[in-house]
């Protein structure tokens, strides 16, 4: 605790304990279930690549074939490697092709065959995990060579053309103009695809499809930029939606540096089944932990649907839950880009002081996490002049409260996808504020007993009350009843539920075994 708000350490410890109590049943649920996407991620680690002529990935075809023969609850690793041995082949992608053609049957081996399949699966998946380890070591080398950004917060910019070959020059231009982190926004709708598209793509709606090849192309382009600029430019994408575990795996394999990965976003905003989300999320976070990827959580989204003053404490609660789930999955504090946002209605009296109180509360509660500070969107109206002023105050709040990652706000938010000039004006705004007041956080200590301290302590108190209530009913019930972001999401509804199965007694997932052994 750095002590700018005089938070009661007993209350803070109590809040973490309540978050653990609320989150533990969800972890238990995640540990006892699997999903089609978790199993596909295992196959990707084991080396299955590519897609059929219709663009359906071979991992999907293979998982579907295994599920049709023996179900999902045993995990696909053992049936797949048993079939590989029986077919006398070594190439898992070839097996997927044969399975899709209907020429392979899957079974649950016993005795010696089962032992052999388990160890073959573990060897293959282990090779995939080692590839992720090598990419992480490569990042460490490049950061040492080129260096980290010279200032905090890191400046985070978005590109979103729909065409990877348009995104690349835009991302490189943004890096040259000062961006430290580039996020490639995904095509609208990808979160609800139950497969990961293949190859380089040039057609997306309001964003570019996340594919392994697009990841590779953009990372290679930003490696060039890093060399040119003398600082390591980071790349971000999304581990959210129905394919969270696979996205995390592909990000690890292609050395992405940050991934959006919220514990509840998919449930609340995409109506994805809660159980599916929590199972997928745990696996994806285990992969992120191994890959040295910084996750960005999505608390900013709650404030776009709920009121940023009345519901400020739900952000704190969600941050505490995200922290618990992240630690449980093996992520370290430096990997927790916990989200929050500047979304209070500017017409509210003292709105900026309220923003400072909320932002500082997050800073003090999570002193070692690189908080992700999100710009105003809800109250951006099309009045671009007022919007630019609001973004300036957002930048000021970011530097005053020591935020780690600052997503650059656009004055044309809610008007157009950012133009070249919008991005330039926005970066000019950030540069001015960081240049003029970059060290002001040293001097910024809210007065004892003053408005900001009182407000921060009030929000913490409300967060504790909510956590106490969740503890009495369980997190799944709270989500079902619309506690977060107003949306009501019962556990037996939502998209992707049919891809969830409870573990059978002989469930085997070599990836989880390896990732948990290391933790």
């Amino acid at each position: 605790m750095t002590g700018k708000l005089d938070l009661d350490p007993v209350l803070v410890a109590r809040a973490r304990e309540l978050a653990r109590r609320a989150g533990q049943p969800v972890v238990d649920l995640a540990r006892s279930h699997t999903t089609v996407s978790v199993e596909r991620a295992v196959l990707r680690l084991a080396g299955v690549t590519g897609a059929d002529p219709d663009g359906i990935p071979w991992v999907n075809r293979l998982v579907d074939a295994v599920v049709a023969d023996v179900g999902l609850g045993h995990g696909v690793a053992v049936p797949v490697f048993d079939a590989l041995a029986r077919e006398g082949i070594t190439d898992v992608t070839l097996l997927a092709q044969k399975a899709a053609a209907g020429s392979v049957r899957f079974a649950l081996p016993t005795g010696r065959a089962a032992t052999a399949a388990r160890s073959a699966a573990r060897r293959a998946v282990g090779a995939g995990v080692r590839r992720i380890d090598r990419r992480r070591a490569e990042r460490d080398r490049l950061v040492t060579r080129h260096g980290d950004p010279r200032q905090r917060p890191w400046i985070y910019l978005i590109v979103a053309t729909g065409d990877i070959y348009e995104d690349i020059p835009q991302a490189q231009a943004a890096a040259r103009a000062g961006a430290d982190v580039i996020a490639v926004i995904r095509s609208t709708g990808q979160s609800l695809l139950d497969y990961v598209p293949e190859g380089a793509t040039r057609e997306g709606f309001a964003g570019t499809y996340a594919t392994q090849e697009n990841f590779r192309l953009m990372r290679a382009a930003l490696d060039e930029s890093s060399k040119e600029l003398g600082r390591y430019v980071r790349l971000t994408n999304y581990a959210s939606g129905l394919c969270m575990p696979e996205m995390a795996t592909l990000a690890g394999l292609e050395r992405l540096d940050m991934m959006l990965n919220d514990s509840m976003y998919g449930i609340l905003f995409r109506d994805i089944n809660p159980v599916r989300t929590f199972v997928d999320q745990r696996f994806s976070r285990q992969v992120h932990a191994r890959a040295g990827i910084i996750i960005n959580t999505g608390e900013d989204n709650y404030l776009t649907t709920a009121d940023a003053v009345d519901e400020a404490h739900t952000v704190t609660v969600s941050q505490l839950l995200n922290e618990f789930f992240a630690h449980e999955a093996g992520l370290a504090d430096w990997q927790l880009g916990l989200g929050h946002a500047f979304e209070i209605n500017p017409e509210v009296p003292e709105s900026f002081r309220l923003e400072l109180a909320h932002a500082l509360l997050a800073r003090e509660l999570f002193p070692d996490a690189p908080l992700k500070w999100m710009p105003p969107t809800k109250h951006m109206t099309g009045d671009v002049f007022r919007g630019n002023l609001l973004d300036g105050f957002f930048n000021l709040a970011g530097t005053l409260t020591g935020q780690g990652i600052l997503l650059v706000g656009m004055m044309t938010e809610a008007v157009v996808t950012p133009w070249l000039s919008d991005r330039d004006i926005a970066l000019q705004n950030v540069r001015y504020v960081l240049g003029a007041a970059g060290g002001l956080h040293e001097d910024f200590v809210p007065a004892p007993g003053g408005f900001i301290r009182r407000r921060a302590n009030q929000v913490l108190g409300e967060a504790l009350d909510l956590l106490e209530r969740i503890g009495e009913q369980t997190l799944l019930t709270a989500i079902a009843e619309g506690t977060f972001g107003i949306m009501k999401r019962p556990a037996d509804r939502g998209k992707g539920l049919d891809g969830v199965a409870a573990h059978e007694a002989d469930y085997c997932n070599p990836a989880t075994d390896i990732l948990e052994a290391a933790a």
Binding site: G162, A173, R176, A177, S187, T188, G189, S191, L192, F205, A206, F269, R270, D271, T304, T305, A306, D307, K378, G382, A414, W419, L420, S421, D424, I425, I486, M487
Partner: protein, 249 residues
């Protein structure tokens, strides 16, 4: 009132002053500034003053131009969709529905197609509402079903049937490649196909990029543009489904 001609106002009536900004794909030099003046002239701005020119990235320059525009605006020739219904309070809406419809008015809302932006539909439907105005869920006499994002058109038709919808509200934010227009046409065609004319719910679309005059082209009953409030939508529902219908019968 006829012959209402106006010009933009800077600081004197009739001065015609405007301010524009744009980017040209030209490196910044004297020629680039001349190019900006040429563009401004062609836009009807004459004289045009380039007050700011700044290089942006490789081979681009951003300009701010002030100048006098020589176009005139004829207010009589302006065409807009004026609100042709009375604005009612939530209480008045509830009273009319209760007394004249004598059952709850059923509203089904969704974002269709790949559009995942529920801000619009949520602002209109969620209790929370927008700009201090409560959403339709708050209206006691309205039964609201919010299907959320990325709802397929068949799902929407099915839900409208199941909920015996009096009105269907569709929100479209994403406009890339005119997705909002395509999705809306697909939606209205599906309802025409699935239900006979007298049994179809009122079809309403909303979003920041719609042209409110395009109802016929899109096959819907009403289009709401940016800045629409839940109260306006509720008032329109009462007007179109109860007040006007009774008057016509």
């Amino acid at each position: 009132m006829s012959g209402q001609i106006v010009r933009p106002y800077g600081d004197t009536t009739g001065d015609g002053m405007v301010q524009v900004s744009f980017t040209l794909p030209v490196a910044h030099d004297k020629r680039a500034e001349g190019a900006a003046v040429q563009l401004a002239n062609k836009m009807g701005i004459d004289p045009a003053m380039v007050v700011h020119a700044k290089p942006m990235g490789d081979g681009f320059t951003f300009f701010v131009v002030y100048g006098r525009v020589n176009h005139l605006v004829d207010l009589d020739a302006v065409q807009v969709v004026e609100r042709d219904f009375a604005l009612l309070s939530a209480k008045e809406v509830n009273t009319v529905v209760k007394q004249r419809l004598r059952r709850k008015l059923s509203v089904v809302g969704a974002c269709i197609g790949t559009d995942a932006h529920t801000v619009g539909i949520d602002a209109i439907l969620n209790v929370k509402g927008i700009a201090g105005e409560k959403g339709l869920e708050y209206y006691r006499e309205l039964k609201v079903t919010n299907l959320g994002a990325q709802v397929s058109v068949p799902e929407l038709v099915e839900a409208a049937r199941a909920e015996k919808a009096d009105a269907v509200l569709v929100s479209q934010v994403v406009t890339q490649r005119d997705a909002h227009l395509r999705n809306t046409r697909e939606m209205s065609a599906a309802f025409r196909e699935a239900m006979p004319a007298g049994r179809r719910p009122l079809l309403i679309v909303g979003g920041p990029r719609f042209d409110e005059t395009m109802t016929d082209e899109l096959g819907v009953d009403r289009i709401f543009g940016r800045g629409t409030t839940p109260g306006e939508v509720a008032s329109y529902l009462v007007h179109a489904l109860i007040t006007q219908r009774k008057a016509m019968a």
